[in-house]
Every structure is written in structure tokens, then in C-alpha cells.
Symmetry: C2
């Protein structure tokens, strides 16, 4: 474990500004962000004042205590005990919260929690039921502020993750031929990425072939690839907790005119969005740039919003406008890491294309984290 | 797609009993249970009366419509549009719900939703905000009733999944030797399971070595394996959406006395729990049987509750007492599929053991789905 006191201090300042008495951390990504890589079930309370409290089960106690040294560890033999103790901890924090005196009448004390895909609804409901004295709110105002802009070490991890994705994509390209299924290819691609250092993937592999190249959401096609198919592959290996996101489209055989048009348009769109990926711009504005290019090629009706999203310890981080539409007006900052190529450009019933990479936001535009060829002919 | 009208009818009867106007389905497992294998983003509304409504994005429309034939498909170009339409659909359902007239004053109409690990809290919060006229409740009273007891086809899928896990475990055993890391082994094991037909795994692989064999929660150890280590491996491949769960413990070298005691106790415990795995028993009772055996061997203080859990299209299904403690009093029924071996028997700071398999509940006790040797010596 490597407790990052600098990040903790920043989080505590932000919590106090937000009137939060603490964060309830139940996600690997926030846990790793503050405390480094430690693979117990991630459970910790980060109060607005004072030291973090770690929560673990009895059998995990010895190792956690020795890694943590002096920090407070609460230990449980079953989940019911854990819930009671979390509640008691927050009750004590609420009583000791110095800002309580200055809060307006009726303004409840808040506890922040990450409420993205990794936080199941039943845990949140249970927390609310057991802790009626506090208001549970999304921790985004604290955690986004900290996590949106990446430091050098984070960017390096993401570059390595993206390089691993590139090795997987090379393997995929070698394997692509008529008669093979997405499933067969997926086994090889995943193996090559794990052998190259991936701890796993942040989403299942997407290898959408033929008509399924249209899909926004991916899976591994079970149908054999046919001559002339479009194949859209999206690889998301993880390295030290950080996520990659590399998508490529391939044409198995000679592209027809419409396939070529989709590909040319997408590559032009990426170039334009990349040039615009500077501090101050919004994803909404990037989408308008994309729409204009699609319109110029007669493809406006097929344009979808959400060309770019944040990425880091989570596969989709703020801004993630295809999940939370209001994120399309979040202003980008220098050294955020964003994907370009999130949305499919698809003609329903025909096929679709995507090329996605990671870029660092800089005053000169998007700086790609790791180059990977656009070569799409098989 | 293969719409299962029989299951839909049963679900609708249960919904009406519960005063639910419909189910909001946003999880692959429920979606697959009713509609078969179709890999768009799973979004459907199953009303208490009438036909299901499918929700998809524009680029996915053509294929979904051709698979669905006559069914109602609502199509969106972005997520905001989707939310509005879901709300309108439920408003219309609420107005047309025949039981409205007979409901008690002030009793809100309910919408059921799965609220397990696959349902993120923010979606639930958003749904509640957009649909204040209905009360969102867990769909468990409907879905558990349907899904707890498995039919023959489901049991066959789980048997195949468990056989694939067995092939992975054989590969793992071949790879186990001092100096290798969990990471290296995981790449090979995953590859062998994917080559054997797994679509992926329902949880990351667990290969806990040395002191980490104590852990309740697993990961892939990065430390090289040492002579004398306990290694606890848990493999969870999926086949046609159904989950496997196979755990084995290995001793790398000669087991010492304490390691042997833990292993012998666990195997005795499994045997006793398996004999008791009959209709009518509860996990609470199974745990008491386990505790008794641990006590007889002087290991009572290390006993943990939750030896068994339900499994199917979800990795943990009702009863899942380590997630929801109240599930320890759910009575088992014939043809449920349960794991035995969910909890670690660990001496903190020393090491732990687990052996987990899948069993069908029968009047004669647990019938194992697929035999795999207990051989633990490397």
C-alpha cells in the first residue's frame, strides 16, 4: 500500500467546501487512487478531518494491518457487523464535524459516495436506510476535481495499457480471416494482452463483425466472418488499474464505396476533433465539429453524440456524455486524458466504423498517448 | 432471440400479485432469461399486462426489429431521449393498470428493477427522479421466484460451464510451481477456458498464493509462488450466460500439519453440507453444520458464515447470505443450484483453504453438477 497523503488532503479540502463529513469508499478505483494497489474488498471511510478508517474481514486483517501500520482498521467477521460499524463511524463523524454549527437550519450533513457503474444500487439503498441522519450524495464534486486531470505517473500507466492494447490489436489483425469467429479471435487476443502484462480488461472484448458492426454496444460475434465484412474491434486492457481503449475497424477484403466513405469520414472527423482537443473546449463542441464533417459527406443523419470521454482508473470518467448528458458542457482541462472515437458511425442495416485512441489534452490539441496504425485492409 | 412466453406469463402473474405495473429490465441476466441471447445493451420494459417493450439505439434498430418481428421497439439516438420515453411508458402503464382501482389509498404503484451488483446506483437514482409517480422496488419477489429453481436446460449450461472450469483448473495445476506468479498462470488458465468455449468469466480469476490464501476476496497474486505455499484458485467461466464456480486449494510441496488439518476439516465439512443440501434446509442451518465440524477440529473461531449460495445467470443469486444476511433463512427448493465451498477457512497470518463446486438440490442431498478431483498436492 502507498497512502497518498497529498491526494487525501486535497479531497478533505473539497469535502469541507461541499459540507461532506466524509467519503464512503467502496470502489477499487477510488481506493487505489488514495491508498495504492491492495486487493482486499475496497472498503474505507475517508473523513473530512483526520485519518482514513479501513474496513476489512477478519481473515484479511493481519496483512492489512501490517501494510497500514498505525492506521485505524475495523475488523468484521460478517457483513452485518460491518454495516453497523460503518453507521456508528458516520454518526461519530457527524457529531464531530466542526462546520455543523455554521450549517443552515435543516441542511443535512452529507456523505459522498461514488455512484457510477461499480456501485450497486442495493448497497446505496441499504446505506441510506441504515444512515438516515446523513444525506448520501455522489462524490463526483470531490473526486472529479481530483481525478479528471492526470499526473505523469497516471499518464504513463495509461500509455502502457494502450501499448498492450496495440499488441492485442496486432494479434487480432493476424487472426482476421473469413470463416473465423469473433470468439476464436477473442481468446487469442486476450491471451496476448495478458501475456504482455494486462491484469485483465475493463470491459469484455468487442469484436463486432458484419451487420453487428452497426452496434453501439459490443460483444464477441459468434458468426463466422465473411468476405467483405466490416469488423469493429474495441480492446480495453488494464495496467496497474488504468484503462486502455483502442478501437479499430477492418474490412475483410476490398472495401466497397460506402465502407470507404464511412472510414474516410471517420478518419477526417478524428483529425478535426483531435486538433480541437484543447483546454476549455467541451464534448458538446467536439460533437458539433464531428456533425459538420459527417454532414459534408452526406452522413449527418447517422451522426451520434459522444465522440470523446474521460478515462483513467475507470473506463468512463467525467466527462462521459453518453452516460450523463449534462457532461457535454464540462470544460476540458490541460492533462486530462480523453478518448476520441467513442461513437460508431453506422448506416443501420449496412455496417459501421470506429477508430478510438487516447489523447492528452494540451494547448496544442490532443497528444496521442500511443500511436497505432489505422491500417484497415485485411 | 427466443422470447420465453412461459416465463413472461409467470412473471406477469407475480407482478400483479405484488402490485407492480411492470419491470424495468436493464441487466443482461434478466434480459437473457426472458428474451434469449441478444447482445444489445439490455433495455426492456415488461409490463404486468401485455407485450414487452424493447428499447434500443438507432444503429441497433434494424437487427433488433428483424429478430423481434411484431414486438414494440422504441428507438433513440441518444440517452436523454431514452429516459424520457421510459418515463412516458411507465406513466401510460400506471394509468392503464387495472388494479389501481382496488389499491388502498396512498399505496403507490410499483415498478420492479433488479438491484444487484449489475445495477448502478446512479441509474436507479435517475429513474426515481424522472418517475416520481411510481415507487421503484427490487424485482426479487418476482425474479427470485422464477429464477431460483433451474430447468434442465439451465442445469446443462451450468454443467458445461463447470466442466470448462475443470479444464481451466487442470491447466492451473500443470502450471503451479515455485517461482511462477499468479499472473503468469492466470493468462494460461483464462486462455484454456476461452478455447474450451467460455465466453469470459463472471468475476476476475482468483489465484491467491501464500499468505493471501487467507483472503475472502481474491485476486491474482503477483508474488512468485514459494515452496510450501497454499494456493487457493477460484475459476468462474461463463457458458451461454450461465456461471461456473470451481475453487480448489493446492499445497506446493509437502503440507504441514496445520495445512493438512485445514484441508481435512474443509473436505469433511463439504461432505456433511452436501448430505444436508435437501429441499427445506436453509443456508443458516448449513452454516451451523459447518461450524460444528470446525469446532470438532478446534477451528471454530475461524469458521465463517455463508458456505453456500445460489448461482445461475448471476454469479451470486438468492440465497446469497454473505451479501444479504437475511438470505440465510431462505428455504432451499428442489432443483435449485447452489455452491458449497463459498467461505474460506483461514487462520489469519497463516493461510486458508476452500474447495467449491456446484450442486443441484435434491431430496437425496446435493447432486454434484460436474466432478472434479480434490487432489491438492503439487
Amino acid at each position: 500500500m502507498r497512502i497518498n497523503y497529498d491526494r487525501i488532503e486535497k479531497a478533505q479540502n473539497l469535502m469541507r467546501e461541499q459540507g461532506m463529513i466524509g467519503l464512503m469508499i467502496m470502489n477499487r478505483d477510488d481506493y487505489r487512487y488514495f491508498f495504492g494497489d491492495f486487493w482486499v474488498q475496497p472498503r474505507a471511510i475517508l473523513p473530512a478531518y483526520g485519518d482514513p478508517v479501513f474496513i476489512c474481514f477478519k481473515a484479511e486483517e493481519a496483512e492489512l494491518r501490517s501494510a497500514l501500520g498505525d492506521h485505524q482498521v475495523k475488523v468484521f467477521s460478517h457483513v452485518g457487523e460491518q454495516m453497523v460499524s460503518v453507521t456508528k463511524t458516520f454518526r461519530a463523524l457527524a457529531q464531530g464535524f466542526p462546520e455543523t454549527a455554521t450549517l443552515k437550519e435543516g441542511q443535512p450533513l452529507k456523505v459522498g459516495m461514488q455512484m457510477w457503474f461499480g456501485t450497486p444500487a442495493f448497497l446505496v439503498d441499504l446505506f441510506r436506510k441504515l444512515n438516515p441522519q446523513v444525506e448520501l450524495v455522489p462524490s463526483d464534486p470531490v473526486m472529479d476535481e481530483l481525478r479528471m486531470v492526470k499526473d505523469e505517473e497516471e499518464i504513463t500507466c495509461m500509455r502502457v495499457a494502450q501499448e498492450i492494447a496495440g499488441l492485442g490489436m496486432n494479434r487480432l489483425r493476424e487472426m482476421l480471416q473469413p470463416g473465423r469467429t469473433g470468439r476464436e479471435i477473442a481468446a487469442e487476443v486476450l491471451y496476448s494482452m495478458m501475456k504482455s502484462g494486462a491484469s485483465g480488461t475493463s470491459t469484455p472484448l468487442h469484436i463486432n463483425t458484419g451487420i453487428r458492426s452497426c452496434w453501439i454496444h459490443g460483444s464477441v460475434s459468434e458468426e463466422p466472418i465473411r468476405e467483405g465484412d466490416l469488423v469493429v474491434a474495441d480492446l480495453t486492457p488494464m495496467y496497474r488499474g488504468y484503462c486502455a481503449n483502442l478501437a479499430r475497424t477492418f474490412v475483410v477484403g476490398e472495401p466497397d464505396e460506402q465502407q470507404q466513405l464511412l472510414i474516410d469520414t471517420y478518419l477526417e472527423l478524428i483529425q478535426a476533433v483531435r486538433e480541437a482537443l484543447k483546454p476549455g473546449i467541451t464534448v458538446g463542441r467536439l460533437d458539433r465539429i464531428g456533425r459538420e464533417i459527417c454532414a459534408r459527406h452526406g452522413l449527418e443523419e447517422y451522426h451520434l453524440k459522444g465522440i470523446s470521454h474521460g478515462i483513467g482508473l475507470r473506463f468512463e470518467e467525467t466527462p462521459a456524455s453518453t452516460i450523463l448528458p449534462q457532461h457535454s458542457s464540462v470544460k476540458l482541462r490541460e492533462n486530462m486524458v480523453m478518448t476520441i472515437g467513442h461513437t460508431i458511425l453506422a448506416i443501420p442495416g449496412f455496417g459501421g466504423v470506429r477508430f478510438e485512441d487516447l489523447y492528452q489534452v494540451t494547448p496544442q490539441g490532443g497528444k496521442i498517448l500511443s500511436e497505432h496504425p489505422y491500417a484497415f485492409l485485411i
